[in-house]
Assembly symmetry: C2
Homo-oligomer: 647 residues x 2
């Protein structure tokens, strides 16, 4: 092997970095991949402090550039979303088993905080239907909201506080990637399922039922509805159906023409006004149509003293806080990112988490429950032409005005109108087109999506979430545990080696088996790969025997796609080498990457296999094999091998 | 782009396979990677049945070829391991809080079954120290073994039954890869920690203490030992120390010379005989040296009726069964594989699991508790020159003989001798050399190992196991969530593109940024990769600006190492494309693999990016970029680009 005609390129073994340096770069890649401190580099100290404050409170960064032009746009958008926020605030609070005013409070303080701390220009802050229902179903198990409304409210505020703390810590400790484990497929299935059960819950309001199950699954709800047919109120049902049609029609028209977005945006408030007027003049509450009743006037009372840290249900509050915190983050950040994509600006996920967290901590101290960035409201905000987070300030001001002066007007609002508003909003969340898309593209993602959907609808929201996260993680683990291996062949008239499976015209090299492994070699796949490589070898030997071709002499392992290796992987390679040696074959390696060759160097595997059997490209390794095969067959002077050997 | 001078090789888009066919090949790769049915192919039906029976009961396969020569070797090996099995059986049963005879029973029936069903020729079946202690610590929480020994024994048998069922099902359903998730580093740390606490537990026997803590952690044990200094029995301690020295010395000598292996193997039995004789003549039991006492004579009584399926602690039994089942599997299969490597035969992991499972199910019905393939005994078997599983039959016969006739001889065996035997065996399991090796090779594996060790020693066996499995899985998930990305450059005087990080002499191509991603693109890393790619681009732009080089025009994504993609990954690619377009740059793809190009085709991403921007090699993509850059700069006839473009 002294002859180096074909051996023109050596595989570099990077010199080992000091432990601390490699630790530092590892931490940076893991927790600061977006390099958030980039702007601080090479700046004078005072500027650094200023940039730091602007980094933490983005409003300081953009407020100086804010113009009257922008304000006009934000004013319109803000009023539009306020007209949505008021009825939605009241409706979603009832989903969470909380007093309607809590829903209104939640559209006042949190949006103001988000406007200062958030980095999205399009996100409209507000309560979330799915999270409200989830909160109700988790907290009701600990405290009965009808029997003990005060303790229930305290628990809800405490859960909100912990959700905020959890969200902020995720951001501060740069653990935002945890949210990434809720894949798109999971969210589609989960949201669809949650929307379905929210709609089912509204049957209570639509049919004017007083008693209703506390369970959320399909079976319990349908049993509860069908067992009370004699208590259905037709007046309520007719009213609800009319308003639902109205809301769906307005959405249909505004979808057809983007300029008509305001019809859709105004429809809920219009329904509320129409419904209230109707109820007032027909005295509907005497005909089985329930109305909201008295609403307390005035702004958010402070609620620090309501946080029940000493409660026996503290663990429930923490658990609920973590789950609703992560779900509202997942939705909020996905929404923020999509609109940022449209307008070509950047959202820093970890910064957003801190903003969401601060907003909910502050909210829990001012009688607000969990808020996030709901898709529906943000889409209306975007369509209404918002320019910055000022639209949230405008919305908060409008809600403040409502709280101070307009609450008496909601006295006669029928509950059935609120149910219609919720159903109309939820139907938009059942994204069956996305599910079909998933089926077409990726069966596994479809299974995840349906798992989440059915888990939520037939089991509970938590079960659906657990199913989806488990199945998605299993997929990732499975892809690591069962990496694909390919046999490579040469593509005719080129020096390129590619998978014979993908390129059927590629032909294998006589006497040489070239294998490519598609994943880092870790403990989870080391045993599998050892068995799989053995199988490749004996299958190739069988094939050659049955077709009468030249027998196998060399096995080349193309390591281009092996990004890392652990100690189990290294001992696997040693065993593979031994097995191949024992069969009388020779193992060659092609293109080991820096992480792998470093470890192979440290473990002395390079010495075991021999430096001269490691090549930079598959082409060079094949050329070496051909060279040696020819030495064996004929006299060494008649050597002939390709020069196109660089793949 | 009509000119195709450089565009000589097209990327193949494999035609989509029917759903069922791809499902079938996926299932085969996942569950049958070793193709166990290979030998059945092209065989007549009768032969198939015969092969099938031989597959299930391997003894039928090798028994006809068995010779007298082999039997001589197996006889010696069998007697050697029997001399180890008797004292170990009694000692380990006491670790599990079970009567000593149960330990002897466990070395009779299970080895016979394994000899018929197992495929290892070197594994010696027996009880395991770590598993015994683990069983004791898990079951004692449910039933107190001193207060209610009968219920405790029933629970132990039930746990053994479920361990067997679990092991057999893992094998039958081809889920053996679950065992792979216990990495080598985990096992080193876990075994070391378990051996440490087993040694600590022996302080009870060595110091002749009667009352002792039921906890296993370092702090509880040391507190229990140090709070009873006045109860220490020096006679017991001196005796124990002498025997321990004797055992360690014999091991030291037999390690120095392989031919002296029998000294080590015989030492425990010699200690037992010496100790018993000494105790008999000195009436040691009256001087604070506890002895075994009466042992019941006779073979294993059946125990099917003892299996406590109706017990209120059934859940504990199932949980214990699963944990001890998987740990004994992990050790047994690792041991079997290592010795099979030495002798160049193959062990089928899933078949071994079935054999272990059947052995434990049968064991639980014949008064045996959990057995496996302990390393120490198997190593002695191997060194004694065993040729087949017949050595296990010989051992079982010797144990049967002991049970029938020799149990009275153990009446005077001092417990302290058993403690010395356990300590001597356990000290060999603390593999500090392996831990140092891990530290040198792979810091992360070292952390896993130390996590398992400290978790076991300071917490409990379960805590150690949970820590190790969690940390190892986190590593795998992290490697997927944070894949490495590299910028590629061309290696001088070659057409080869490699990471500039690994090959510092590689130079980047002017106006072109070549990026390589090292992992499948899944939901878990899609967001990260989008941010990281953006950062690569602006960092490259900054670098070019500050060095005054030509500005960036093209971004080439080398997809060679991307083995798979899901829907989140596809939308990530679309977003990257949009971002790059918006910056006025152009995105090119190189060498997308079959899974990826199939999905890109289905999702119409190929149309979005344009078929003409996808190249087979980085070299061809660079050539295309250079070609277009030259068109822009000079007249089209002055085109110059490399021909060595095939990497």
């Amino acid at each position: 092997m002294g002859n180096a005609d074909y051996e023109c390129h050596k595989v570099a073994v990077p010199s080992p970095k000091p432990f601390l340096q490699s630790l530092k770069s590892g931490v940076k890649e893991t927790f600061f991949p977006d390099d958030p401190f980039r702007q601080f580099k090479n700046q004078p100290p005072l500027k650094k402090v200023l940039l730091g404050i602007q980094y933490l409170v983005p409003i300081l960064e953009w407020a100086p550039r804010y113009t009257l032009q922008f304000f006009k746009a934000d004013l319109i958008a803000g009023i539009t979303i306020a007209s949505l926020a008021v009825p939605q605030g009241i409706s979603y609070a009832s989903l969470a088993n909380l007093p309607p005013t809590i829903g209104l409070y939640s559209s006042f303080v949190p949006p103001l905080l988000y406007a200062m701390l958030g980095s999205s220009r399009d996100l409209a802050v507000g309560t979330l239907a799915v999270v409200s229902l989830l909160m109700a179903s988790m907290l009701s198990k600990a405290v009965n909201p009808t029997e003990n409304p005060k303790a229930y409210l305290q628990l809800a505020l405490t859960a909100t506080f912990f959700a905020g703390v959890f969200q902020a810590s995720l951001g501060i400790f740069r653990l935002g990637f945890i949210v990434d484990f809720l894949s798109h497929a999971t969210i589609v299935g989960f949201m669809g399922g949650a929307a379905t059960i929210v709609c089912l819950q509204q049957l209570k309001g639509i049919l004017g039922l007083v008693h209703f199950t506390h369970e959320t699954d399909l079976v319990s709800v349908m049993r509860s509805v069908l067992s009370q047919t004699h208590k259905w109120r037709w007046e309520s049902a007719v009213l609800g159906f009319c308003f639902l049609c109205f809301l769906l029609l307005t959405r249909y028209f505004s979808k057809k023409k983007a300029a008509l977005f305001w019809i859709n945006a105004m429809a809920p408030l219009t329904s509320v006004i129409l419904g209230s007027v109707l109820a007032y003049f027909t005295h509907a509450e005497k005909h089985g149509v329930q109305v909201i009743g008295h609403l307390k006037q005035g702004l958010n009372p402070p609620s620090v003293s309501e946080l029940a840290f000493g409660s026996p249900h503290l663990l429930t509050a923490i658990k609920t806080g973590i789950i609703i915190g992560i779900i509202s983050l997942a939705e909020g950040i996905a929404v923020g990112r999509s609109f940022a994509m449209f307008k070509n600006y950047h959202i820093d996920g970890n910064k957003e988490m801190i903003a969401f967290g601060m907003m909910n901590i502050a909210g829990s101290c001012t009688s607000c429950y969990l808020t996030g960035g709901p898709f529906s409201r943000s889409a209306v905000n975007f369509n209404a032409g918002c320019k910055s987070a000022v639209s949230n300030i405008v919305m908060a001001t409008a809600v403040m005005f409502t709280l101070l002066f307009l609450t008496p007007l909601f006295h006669y609002t029928p509950l059935v109108v609120l149910s219609s508003i919720i159903i109309a909003a939820m139907l938009g969340l059942i994204d069956y087109a996305a599910a079909i898309h998933l089926w077409k593209l990726d069966k596994f993602d479809f299974i995840v999506c349906m798992g989440a959907y059915l888990g939520v609808v037939l089991g509970s929201i938590e079960i659906g979430l657990i199913i989806a996260v488990t199945v998605s993680s299993l997929r990732v683990l499975l892809s690591v545990a069962r990496p694909r291996t390919f046999a490579l062949g040469i593509i005719p008239n080129s020096g390129i080696y590619r998978s014979i499976d993908q390129y059927p015209n590629a032909s294998s090299v006589p006497g040489v088996l070239i294998l490519q492994i598609d994943a880092p070699i870790y403990f989870a796949n080391a045993n599998y790969l050892r068995e799989r490589i053995s199988r490749w070898i004996y299958e190739e030997e069988d094939r050659l025997k049955s077709s009468g071709e030249a027998s196998l002499h060399y096995v080349i392992l193309d390591m281009s796609a092996i990004g890392g290796i652990d100690t189990s992987g290294l001992s696997m390679l040693e065993e593979v080498k031994k097995t191949i040696d024992r069969k009388g074959l020779k193992l060659l390696l092609a293109n080991p990457r820096s992480e792998v060759i470093k470890k192979m160097d440290k473990s002395k595997f390079i010495e075991t296999i021999g430096q001269e059997w490691i090549y930079l490209t598959v082409g060079e390794a094949v050329a070496a094999c051909n060279f040696m095969l020819h030495i064996c067959k004929s006299n060494p002077n008649a050597v002939e091998y390709g020069t196109q050997d660089n793949v």
